[in-house]
């Protein structure tokens, strides 16, 4: 299995509080992604990174920010959590970052916003 860990694995928080999720990889892959998974929607891309300090938005980026200060870490921040951000969040990595390359997924973080 690809070396990808996510922390925390579960989190319950209240509306309006900031939340940061961490993705850590040991594969030295250049590309990292954050997805959210919701019933009936599959996985939707939030943000992605194509290198240290290089990030861009995905299809559902509103309300989220990311940072990547090291190759191995990709942080997802909810500045002020809302109930609509209750979801399961997956981090993924890939070596090439093009559409023809396999992505490897972390185990996910279940976030509940009350």
């Amino acid at each position: 299995d690809a070396g990808i860990t996510q922390s925390p694995r579960h989190k319950v928080t209240e509306t309006g509080t900031p939340v940061t999720l961490r993705c850590h990889q040991t594969e030295n892959h250049r590309y990292m992604y954050w997805y959210r998974q919701d019933p009936g929607h599959g996985l939707r891309l939030i943000h992605y990174s194509y290198g240290v300090k290089d990030t861009d938005k995905g299809e559902v980026s509103d309300g989220y920010s990311v940072s990547r200060s090291k190759t191995e870490d990709f942080l997802l921040t909810l500045e002020s959590a809302t109930s609509s951000q209750t979801s399961v969040y997956f981090c993924a990595i890939s070596g090439l970052g093009t559409g023809d390359n396999e992505q490897f997924f972390g185990p996910g973080t279940r976030l509940t916003v009350l």
């Binding site: 996985l43 992605y48 194509y50």
Partner: protein
Amino acid sequence: AQSVTQPDIHITVSEGASLELRCNYSYGATPYLFWYVQSPGQGLQLLLKYFSGDTLVQGIKGFEAEFKRSQSSFNLRKPSVHWSDAAEYFCAVGAGGKTSYDKVIFGPGTSLSVIP
């Protein structure tokens, strides 16, 4: 814009029966196509992928998929289902290109239940 539909939200099959999961995509050029599987509480794992060449693609765990350009489909098949195949299956499409990131769009998923 790329899009993926999986017409079956949930499928139930008996162990040992054959399986076909449907996937239709929308994309203007030749697509890159994937099938991923997600076991309960786990992340996604790649089953197989199609880029070019032979339209029948073999994957892991005895799965195969056939690309049909005329039908914009990439259906997943398995001749004999095992109880351990119960999971969520996602079809995905990515654009081509080697010089820039291309987003991978996932379908909504099909949940497979297997009756012993």
